[in-house]
Symmetry: C2
DNA sequence: AAAATTGTTGATATTTTTTATCAATATCTA
DNA sequence: TAGATATTGATAAAAAATATCAACAATTTT
């Protein structure tokens, strides 16, 4: 699955790398430290540097995307294109909101400024339904 | 000007603090290190810790806002409420886009998820007109 | 206006986070 | 399967952020 993506970019298909990608997909959004912990469960000797190096190269190659978060460290997700994020101001959980079309906002910005935009990152902040009901 | 905002929150009005706020307003968006350099020009002995402490408390008190940026450290701006940011992928400059209404997107998200959102942060990425013409 | 109170500053130490280095090893190519 | 090349893991180094605390400044109280 990720094999092909890596090969296309001439990145070597190592078990650690595959595991990192699969873990991020499972987790949805993962921080460096979370990831390191998860990977260690299987590759107990994995170095933190390996996590950093992989995250960097995978973001550079557009396989992952960085999601910067207010007040804490970035998390990373599989690059599935632009979409809206929500961050709970109480528990901090980050979730995707997939059904909001961001193109109208991009088009409006392009119309106003006369310059094209390649990407848009939207982060909504509020209390999630789980926290709201507790 | 910032005196009142600080007093209302029972923060002491120190020259360093005022200068930091005025400098951020002038610069539009400032990173910690930029700020430290600017403040040092006038208060040559200002400690980096003072910059950090002020940024933190001023963000907490909603006088400043953090603007997280992909691939680098956050910058900070005077809190003028939600608005769209643009970051040039070539020169890195961050600018405000003031005339895009973010409420429709918030309303749509609220309609879909049935939960309220207090804030929205939008970051557009593209090559700015200055870079485009060079 | 001086004294008391309280918060802030600056200096520095410490911690945390990230990057660099490099030999050993694993992946891939031919 | 051998050779070329990239990746890993260990660790050192650098960079970024936070904690500590005495001296000081802003504000409040008297």
């Amino acid at each position: 699955m990720y094999d092909k993506m890596l090969r296309e970019r001439e990145l070597k298909v190592t078990p650690q790398r595959i595991f990192i990608l699969e873990e991020i997909r499972k987790m949805g959004h993962a921080g460096i430290e979370d990831l390191h912990d998860k990977v260690k469960e299987v590759y107990s000797s994995v170095s933190l540097a390996t996590i950093y190096k992989n995250i960097h190269i995978l973001v550079e190659e557009n396989i992952l995307r960085e999601v910067p978060v207010h007040g804490r460290k970035s998390v990373y997700e599989i690059n599935i294109g632009d979409h809206v994020h929500m961050c709970c101001t109480k528990c901090g959980e980050i979730t995707d909101i997939m059904n909001i079309d961001t193109r109208p906002m991009i088009l409006e910005a392009e119309r106003q400024s006369g310059q094209p935009y390649e990407r848009i990152a939207v982060m909504l902040q509020g209390v999630c339904s789980k926290c709201r009901n507790n």
